[in-house]
């Protein structure tokens, strides 16, 4: 699992690439670490799944934990670029309606601008 992070003022982008299984979730958790020491009020965090073609419950868990942390601090999260396999697992877990999900990264960036 490779995570590329981009930050521009209050917009964070996490571009994930690889399997988001138990091993991948550890890597993503580490990538999220810098967020812990930040004020996230008013921030938007985009998680770009276009490089992810597999996710397990361990992957969901780390996304949910980050979402909860953001909500507490009144930040926002947008998920984008999910393929059908990844989307299916979010559906399985009843999580598709909880998150803000866009098809493409471009749409996610557009949406972030309107916040």
């Amino acid at each position: 699992m490779d995570v590329r992070v981009e930050q521009n003022e209050n917009l964070w982008q996490f571009h994930l690439e690889g399997r988001l299984d138990l091993a991948g979730a550890e890597a993503v958790e580490n990538a999220f670490n810098p967020l812990k020491s930040q004020k996230l009020f008013g921030c938007t965090l985009i998680i770009d799944f276009s490089g992810v073609h597999y996710i397990s419950s361990s992957g969901l868990r780390v996304i949910v934990a980050c979402f909860n942390h953001l909500e507490e601090q009144e930040g926002r999260m947008i998920l984008c670029g999910m393929d059908i396999a990844v989307r299916e697992v979010f559906d399985f877990a009843g999580l598709s309606d909880v998150f803000t999900i866009t098809e493409s990264l471009a749409e996610a960036l557009d949406l972030a601008r309107t916040y």
Partner: protein, 149 residues
């Protein structure tokens, strides 16, 4: 398209793999079971589900049975007993009670749902039969069956 393997009497249709309880190797066992199931003619959508179920069981072995230790060993055996795909995962760690696993909350605000419980939920949703035999000091076995006829 490949011609799916048919079960020929007397010819065992199985594959068995032993590997360390390091999360990095989950991809190895998943890839292998997926290929085995693919050979037996299962469609992509089903392959994805079977891969997820195997991954969830093995992840639980690593995290719960072996408490996150990376240097223990577990075994996955996959048998095609037409029309049943049987997958068994054996470990020598802590056992648990499958019946007493609480169901996860899948509705309402995220905060109220609590974390965890999704793995067993996925497994039960995907597979037709799920059972677990725990043995103190011996090998535990998590067995799941998918009818693919």
């Amino acid at each position: 398209m490949d011609i799916p393997l048919r079960h020929r009497p007397g010819v065992p249709s199985f594959v068995e793999v032993s590997l360390p309880s390091d999360p990095k190797y989950l991809a190895v066992v998943c890839t292998m079971i997926r290929e085995f199931a693919r050979l037996h003619g299962m469609a992509e959508e089903l392959l994805r589900k079977i891969e997820l179920a195997v991954d969830e069981v093995c992840s639980n072995v690593i995290v719960h049975a072996y408490e996150g230790r990376h240097d223990a060993v577990y075994r996955v055996r996959c048998t095609f007993d037409e029309p049943r795909l049987v997958i068994e995962v054996f470990d020598r760690g802590h056992s648990f009670s499958l019946e007493q696993c609480p169901k996860p909350k899948l509705e309402g605000p995220l905060k109220s749902r609590g974390t965890g419980g999704l793995g067993i939920h996925f497994i039960r949703k995907i597979m037709d039969e799920v059972e677990y035999e725990g043995h103190l000091g011996g090998e535990n076995c998590f067995r799941m069956i998918k009818k693919v006829a």
